[in-house]
Symmetry: C2
Subunit: 277 residues, 2 copies
């Protein structure tokens, strides 16, 4: 039996969905279809959505779960009137918070908030362009301005991680590929010259060789680049370098980009320029 | 008087922080210092943090606000023991949800969840590389595979938006710059040839000319490119094209990247390949 959950918001829906998914992830044995409905910012939109909710209840034979962060009282009332099991985040927590902070919230006053943007806009633009300009070792002369320099073999996840750090936290992340150009005579990797002066900024990424081969195979099928032998060798050399040089590193096979980024921030003590929304 | 809020998690802290910021944003007249503490996944780490919380309470002269999503009962108890005004998201909502779903949650069983990753990993990699390969009109032959094609003048926010859509939702977004190359004799913009076959995928971005001039000025100071006259003209031509061709568009001056992306998804009915965490 499948249940349906609606995450409803008068804004982006990011908070309602984030909380909703976290809560429902605790129920692994229940199949739940999750639907996000952002920008429900008028009574008309709420009425149309209430009809969808009613139809879903009939279809499922069970009342949907409704998790909302709507601020406007009139709009909220329409959703409240629909059949559903309701989790009202704001009304649950804001009343006790108002008491603790001894003041009224905009919520009880009925004012909607837009996401603050001016303060983060320029930092975001800068950080994203920094990540792009310094992707894949393209330039190394800006490493003095980098907050962190990600290193690792080709296609181990450096670029998505650099971009996530830029977009979500305003962190300036360069990334540099470890390649055979930096192999010593004994077959071990040495620290590329461009990185030597920035050792305290280095963070290594590694990856399961099988996953790496699969990813590379999609790019260049049946090449030496994507062969299992080559991947095993490169990953071994990279991890050898990290260990020898005491460079902290993380396995991107085991973690999501969110986890890699937040662990890196915690481990290296990086300062975010702004906060995720 | 400044209060302190701690967002505490045994994982990334994204849910606790997202909810915490949403709740506290409703109290504009209270100055609140917000601190996220992810990966509090051992009793020792919790004890060290509890000491920080106690010291903060003494320093502030007020108990901190504590918003947590810790699953492990032993770790949670340590934090619970600290001085603070506690908002316990999971215990508040999971008990009623357990009743509604007629089953126990992993939370009450005490199991921690990692963020699902395998299912999103490849989609993410693909989408990010799609955005990069198709940034700034670099290629146009892949537009058949694009979910959306962002258009707009140089530096209006196309690249950060494309990358956000890729990282958070797995949406394949190309972007194409509107330039003077596509001006008609009468001084109005015509739809670039590469875009004509994909009109239903087009989404326009516009920007306040003053903001645009400031952004461009940082890149090329005192140039024609960054002059107010030039910016006013280009923005006017772009908006003229959107209106004439009935291309939906949004003003990036007024909205954050999160808002632009989620509004675009809603307006164009785009399908996410995965969900934000």
């Amino acid at each position: 039996m499948t249940r349906t959950a609606f995450f409803i918001s008068d804004g982006t829906g990011i908070t309602a969905e984030s909380l909703g998914r976290s809560l429902l992830a605790q129920f692994e044995n229940v199949e739940i279809r999750m639907i996000t409905k952002p920008y429900i910012d008028s009574v008309d939109k709420a009425r149309a959505l209430a009809e969808v909710i009613e139809a879903t209840a009939v279809h499922d034979g069970e009342q949907p779960i409704i998790i909302d962060t709507i601020v406007d009282e009139k709009i909220r009332e329409v959703i409240r009137g629909a059949i559903g099991f309701k989790i009202d985040i704001f009304s649950t927590f804001l009343a006790p918070l108002e008491q603790e902070l001894a003041t009224h919230s905009s919520y009880t006053v009925g004012r909607t908030h837009s996401i603050g943007k001016d303060e983060v806009y320029m930092d975001r633009i800068h950080s994203v362009h920094f990540a792009l300009d310094n992707d894949d070792g393209a330039h190394t002369h800006q490493y003095g301005k980098a907050d962190v320099i990600l290193i690792g073999v080709s296609r181990c996840g450096k670029t998505p991680t650099s971009l996530y750090l830029a977009l979500q936290f305003g962190i300036r992340a360069a990334n540099y590929p470890l390649t055979e150009d930096d192999l010593d005579e004994d077959g071990s990797l040495r620290l590329p010259r461009a990185l030597a002066a920035h050792r305290h900024k280095l963070f290594g990424l590694t990856i399961d060789a099988r996953r790496l081969a699969a990813i590379r195979h999609e790019r260049r099928p049946n090449s030496r680049y994507s062969s299992m032998d080559q991947c095993v060798q490169e990953v071994g050399q990279a991890e050898g370098l990290y260990r020898q040089m005491h460079i902290p590193f993380i396995d991107t096979t085991r973690f999501s980009v969110e986890e890699i980024s937040t662990r890196m921030i915690a481990e290296m003590g990086l300062t975010r320029r702004f906060s995720p929304r």
